[in-house]
Amino acid sequence: MAKRAAPEVNAGSMADIAFLLLIFFLVTTTIETDSGINRKLPPTDEVVDPPIIKERNIFTVVVNKNNQLLVEEKPMEISEIRQAAMEFLDNGGGKDEEACSYCKGSADTSSSDNPVKAIISLKNDRETSYKVYIAVQNELVAAYNDLREREFTSLNPNIGLSYMEASKRYSDPRYVSDRERLKPLLDEVKAMYPQKLSEAEPSKNN
């Protein structure tokens, strides 16, 4: 009639089993999430009559096969391109309905009328190196982001976020509650400086 307690299960090897699993997962997995520059390709269907775009509203950037840059017919270094693109986008040379009320550029009549109309055309050679191309893309996107940053902070001085932080938070699932609030603010600056970056098909010989 002795009440004997059930013998305890030996759990000593549990740690070994768990360690084995742990090491397996440590070895087979990678933590990184990918990030990169998002782009949208133009659809293939031919536009019947393409809209006429004034020469002064196009900012041409050509990267040749020796990875040299030609910006608006002039050679340039990659480090200067961000400033040049910002000056072009922010020029605001238009009059009347094309005038740009928020631009702070020099309003040069030979440069863009309005950031909404300004287009950056990026052209590369088939032998251009990919990393140089990405560097140029990066700097052009940076030009847009810098201008949006400026407008975002001047429009929303009390928000305590920069444009980059706000757009990061907008796409972050942890801040769903902020989404409604941030969307109109972000859309406003995006409409002021829309990213019109065209990637032309590469030239075969030049």
Partner: protein, 161 residues
Amino acid sequence: MAKFKKKKGGETPAISTASLPDIVFMLLFFFMVATVMRDSTLMVQNKLPAADQIQKLDKKDRVMYIYAGKPSSRYADKYGNQARIQLNDKFATVSDVGAFVLAERASKRQELQDVLTTALKVDGDTNMGLISDIKQELRQVNALKINYTTRSGDYTQNTKN
């Protein structure tokens, strides 16, 4: 005297390791949740270029990957050292890209089929010609959202060799 001796006797008790499995399990679950499996083995060199104006590419189920670059040293004598495209676990030619995208798209859920992004993981030393060809193929099959996958860093790293 004997009364007191009894209490003092005995060695220091062994430290209990009963909670060790709990700790290890906790670590295990952390790693299981926080990590993603590498789904294909790389057969090409893949040193991504650096950029700092980047956006995160989340939601793995909406992304398809296209790798390109020179074949890695293990495959160099068989496939040469010209830049190649890798789709899943195989080397492919430019003309395979369209079929690959369509197959990937068909394998996804209906509601995701229109929001797929193609991530181009291309080695920095590749010529743009190959990438343009891939882009043309993607346009043909209407896969217009692309992402040039980069690592984060200053762009000046790209101009050095």
